[in-house]
Symmetry: none
Subunit: 212 residues, 4 copies
Amino acid sequence: MKRVKASRSPRVSKRARTRARLTEAALRLMAESGINGTSVSEIAAEAELANGTFYLYFRDKSEIVAAVCQAVTLAMHNEMNSVRLSLEDGAARVAFGTQQFIAIAAAEPKWGRLLMWAFSEYAAIKEDVTRYMRMDVALGVEQGRFTEPVDEFVIDTLLAILRAGISSRLDGAGAGVGARAAEYHLRILGMSAAEAHRVRVATNKLAERRNG
Amino acid sequence: MKRVKASRSPRVSKRARTRARLTEAALRLMAESGINGTSVSEIAAEAELANGTFYLYFRDKSEIVAAVCQAVTLAMHNEMNSVRLSLEDGAARVAFGTQQFIAIAAAEPKWGRLLMWAFSEYAAIKEDVTRYMRMDVALGVEQGRFTEPVDEFVIDTLLAILRAGISSRLDGAGAGVGARAAEYHLRILGMSAAEAHRVRVATNKLAERRNG
Amino acid sequence: MKRVKASRSPRVSKRARTRARLTEAALRLMAESGINGTSVSEIAAEAELANGTFYLYFRDKSEIVAAVCQAVTLAMHNEMNSVRLSLEDGAARVAFGTQQFIAIAAAEPKWGRLLMWAFSEYAAIKEDVTRYMRMDVALGVEQGRFTEPVDEFVIDTLLAILRAGISSRLDGAGAGVGARAAEYHLRILGMSAAEAHRVRVATNKLAERRNG
Amino acid sequence: MKRVKASRSPRVSKRARTRARLTEAALRLMAESGINGTSVSEIAAEAELANGTFYLYFRDKSEIVAAVCQAVTLAMHNEMNSVRLSLEDGAARVAFGTQQFIAIAAAEPKWGRLLMWAFSEYAAIKEDVTRYMRMDVALGVEQGRFTEPVDEFVIDTLLAILRAGISSRLDGAGAGVGARAAEYHLRILGMSAAEAHRVRVATNKLAERRNG
DNA sequence: TATGAATGAGGGTTCATTCAT
DNA sequence: AATGAATGAACCCTCATTCAT
């Protein structure tokens, strides 16, 4: 099981460790039961801390929600960054990022499920998730790979598709869904279905080589 | 002794009027604060009724949620049906339906906002909303207008885009968003951006003629 | 199924018939779910009457409880009176009455169950049930059949045993329980176990003859 | 960090004290108004605590009911155990136990009244109360003191008599009722009235000697 | 006589948050 | 830094009873 914040190394202060325990506890519970479905007391209990201790680390419940969501998206970005940033083609980056993001959410369902809840119950998640997406799309636009003028609504659409992909996979759909979401992203950005398919397949091969 | 038509306002029974008052109150409040964010007492108060009266009309809170959501989607479908069903081309129907659905949600923001909340907090809404969508897509597929194989994930994707469109408009985006969402739908279903654009524009002209 | 108040004969006014419908409905429901577990609205619904109609026949809920309990105990007394009153020996009457009361409660479980609830939730039932008991015991005392001085506590004890007997039978115990309760009654009143047994057996034979 | 013994009143933890306050409040109120007739809010108020505090100590209302009933029956058993267990004759034990149980219920009317309600509204009380009774009866049977075959119905009958005895005393009857209930128990178990009387009187003398 | 809509107090329960220790 | 007891408002829901028609 991956930890959002690992390392009990002496480097990390006790305060930070306790905070991490709370964050991890919250992640476990919120992935299971949703954000509104998880109470502060439950989080404290899961972290083996007293009720009131929670408030020494977070001003209120919303603050830990933000922390958990940031931690998760950060971890997911980190997982995909090394390969993703090595791709020079913006279209390839978009394709890879989408696929990978969904794959990670499926491989680490706690993260995926938390995201799903967060999309519903914590609006600010949008910023965290779209950060990488905006960069890749902007790169592709700059490179003339996309014909669609890029604005907020395009990003919203891409995000909506990403979300649908994660949801599908968590409900049991196969990995193909990730590939399709990637192609849909490219189509939204103006590529034809055929072109999008070609890019996505090529990206996969490239990514495998970099990964292996 | 039941009276068939004896009340001062013979059109609607008192029971029906009170029920409507509750449903409308619920719609107003839920559009504003969400489904979970609206309490039964608030609904009763907004309808100027006593707390317990609510339960003479709905078995529990979930029942009024269902009632409100169905009422809204039904109303929206009715608003768009006459023109939509007159279109013979499946692609045109998809384009028109999407655009129109978003337009209605924007014109009647209570409805739109309720839908947004329902997407998050009332899973069953999906069935109500996708009903027309499935029909139009199926028609287009039958007519060979779409190349994308249609399965649950495609529908989920279309729904996600629809949702993004409504959300954008409620946040102040202009009517162009509806048109774009329509084109995105067609792109997802396999059409190129250019083709999608052509179909959508043609559909709009046709629809205007039918409407006026 | 026996009716507490039968006869829809023209003799009986409509008012009385409606009242009876409410009483019977209440009996059915209260036997099933207890007195506190049965709401006024449920009673009205079961009687196919409107909610408010109830209050045209009973001042409040407690009044129908009393009515139902009286009706049931009256019916039970009537069922056993013809044979019981023909017995001249007070001890025989006690034995027969006890046995018969339990037998009736078992044969008409609605009645039995109502009584069990009433014992718990409607103190006044005691008067209704002990009426016959007091008479029979007094007769036996007068005849010198019982040595135990009779006071309220003896009656309470006999009632408690009767109740235990009904409860047992409703829980599935066989008819033997009624016979034993009868003997226990006689023992409480001062007879030895052997004597009590003899009287009870003789009474049974006698009663059968009168019955057949 | 848990402190083993640091509070100003080291004897009992604050938690235990608050729990006791709730239990005692519940006992007071339930003795007065019955179990169903006592609300959680009333208990909290009587204990001078906030409504929600109750749920830090009991999962739900049923839990405090069980706790109160167990506490009462346990206390009553403890009060009578030292003498009762010193009696070697099963019949004496039954006689003493019954008398004593009723005497305690009368001396501590809160306990008695709670029991009366519990008999009606909390079925599980039967097990708690009959525990000692079953042991004593079994002992007497083993010793050949009782001729009545012992089964569930006999126990139910004994319990019913015990209950009648407590009820009588709470309604103002004198201590004689306890003695009579004891004799009735023996009669039910097969002893003649005279024998039962003898045993009971002898037991009383013995018990007084042990007590004094 | 009958209806049935309406009331509103009260029930059990949850939970984010505070605070004395 | 940590505890955990305590708070109290809010939530959903039930029901005996009233009243205009």
